[in-house]
Each structure stands twice: as C-alpha cells, then as structure tokens.
C-alpha cells in the first residue's frame, strides 16, 4: 500500500490528539451518566454466546465441576452394575447347580431339531 505523504501523516497524528477528549470531558460525561442512574462497577451478566459451556471462566469452572460429578456418578453406576451382574452370575450359577430343576446338559435345554443316528437306531430297536 502506498505510503502517505509525511505532512499528511503528521496531520493525522495531530488530528487524533486534537479530536481526543480531555479528562474533563470524560469526567463530565461520567457524572451525567451517574446522574442518569447508570449503575457502574458491577459485573454484567454474560451474553448469549458466553453462556455456552466453556466460554466464560466462571461458567467453565462450574461446567467442569458438573462434568466431573457426572462422570463420577456414571463410573460409580457402571461399577455397581458390573458388580451386581457378577454377583448375580455367581449366585445364579450356585443356585442353578443346586436346583432340582437344573438342566443336566445343554442338550436337554436345546433339543436337537433332527434326530441323531443313535436316536434312529434306538427307535428301530423299539
């Protein structure tokens, strides 16, 4: 980009200074705002985007705590579930082993659809 003439650069710098408010201007407007009831110095609620988890530090720490607690709860739930299942498995096996209704073999639980060759032979003998 072309460079501005030095005189123009100086004019820009001078203009910036000239156009800037004085401390009196600043204080006077502040005073007027206070008189108009503007509350100052208070943290303001964050905007919509900031409300999303992870944007604002305060919200973020809250979200982290929440997520950590949720993770612990889920992990505890999962462990509990696994332990219960294992316990049920052990107890179930024991109960099954001692039950009068306990199947003696898998074959009795899942009967073969086709009669075996031995079955046919036995049938023949009968």
């Amino acid at each position: 980009m072309s460079e501005l003439p030095r005189g123009l650069q100086n004019a820009i710098g001078a203009s910036r200074r000239e156009l800037s408010p004085s401390e009196t201007d600043r204080a006077r407007v502040w005073q007027r705002l206070a008189e108009a009831g503007v509350q100052t110095g208070e943290p303001v609620e964050l905007g919509a985007r900031v409300r999303a988890i992870g944007d604002a530090p305060a919200k973020r720490s809250g979200a982290v705590i929440y997520l950590a607690a949720a993770s612990v709860a889920i992990a505890a739930g999962a462990l509990g579930y696994v332990a219960t299942k294992r316990w049920q498995g052990t107890e179930g096996s024991r109960a099954a082993a001692t039950s009068p209704y306990a199947p003696t073999s898998l074959a009795s639980v899942v009967p073969s659809a086709k009669p075996s060759a031995n079955d046919a032979k036995d049938a023949g003998h009968d």
């Binding site: 005189g7 303001v44 905007g47």
Partner: protein
Amino acid sequence: MPPPLTPLQFDAVYREHFAFVWRTARYLGVPRGELEDVAQDVFLTVQRKLSDYDGRVSVKSWLYGFVRRVVADHRRRYRRKESKLRGAPEEQGLDAYESVQPTPLATLESSEALVRLDRVLALLTPEKRETFLLAELEEMTAAEIGEVMSANVNTVYTRLRAAREEISAHYTKMFGDPNTPGGRDE
C-alpha cells in the same frame, strides 16, 4: 472453538473506549458543543445492551454501531427542531443523514493540520472517508471496519487503498510534497 470471552464491565468499556466514541462522533460531524449529549446517549445504550454483547464482533465495532445510530438520531432531532423553526419539511431517516455527507472535522476550531486534513477528506466519498478515518486515525483492522460498514474485507482493502491514493494526491497537489525538494509543506 471461539476464544474465551472476558465478561464486559461498564466501567472498563467506558475507560477504554470513551475516547474512541468521542472522536468517532466528531468524525461523523457532531459539533463540539453537542458531543457530551451524544457520548452520554451512546453509553446509556451501552449500559442497556451490555449483556447482549456476544463477542462476535470486536468491542470497537460494536460501539461504533451505537455511535452511528445515536449520531443519526441526534441529527434527525436537530433537523426537526430546525425545520420547525424555519417551517420547512423535515428530512426523514438515516438516508437523510447519510445524504448530508457532513464535512468531517468541519466544526472544529482546529489547528493547521486539522484544516488540511479536513480539506482533503472532504474530497473523498463518504465510504472512502469513513474507511480512511477508521483505519488511519482509529487504527481499526480491515475486519473491524468490514463489521461496522457491512462490507467484506476485500472491499475494505480496496476502499482504503483508493482513499490513500486519492488523499495523498490531493494533499500533495494542495499543500506540496514535503518529501521532494521545493515541497510546500513544513
């Protein structure tokens, strides 16, 4: 993921951007004697809207939007008052304000440098003048200028390049080039 956003506090916005609001209102043609009213109205709006700021644009761009609107309202009220006094029909809306093309810095009791800058700025189109002022005096980025002027970054660069070339040519023609022997400036 967007960068973390620090919550805005009114005091901090006022402290850091009061000068920006003040200067930009002046560029937009607000007379010196009415700047306090305009600045007050801008910051009243800021206070009301502070919780709406979502960080999608820079704070400067966000503020500049308020400055423009408040200045436009201010001008409308001013014209209404004037037209009532004169009995002339009043102009309506922002367009009326834009069409006036206020001479920047015109109302200032200013130094030689300001007078010169004012004279060359007056030769630019409003878009180029605004782009130039925001870039050179306020040091806003092309992205920020694009946000406030609803233009894409390439358009901003094009306008800025053209503004710089035009303004340099006008300035040299009117006041001489201090970088060349015999330049009339300084």
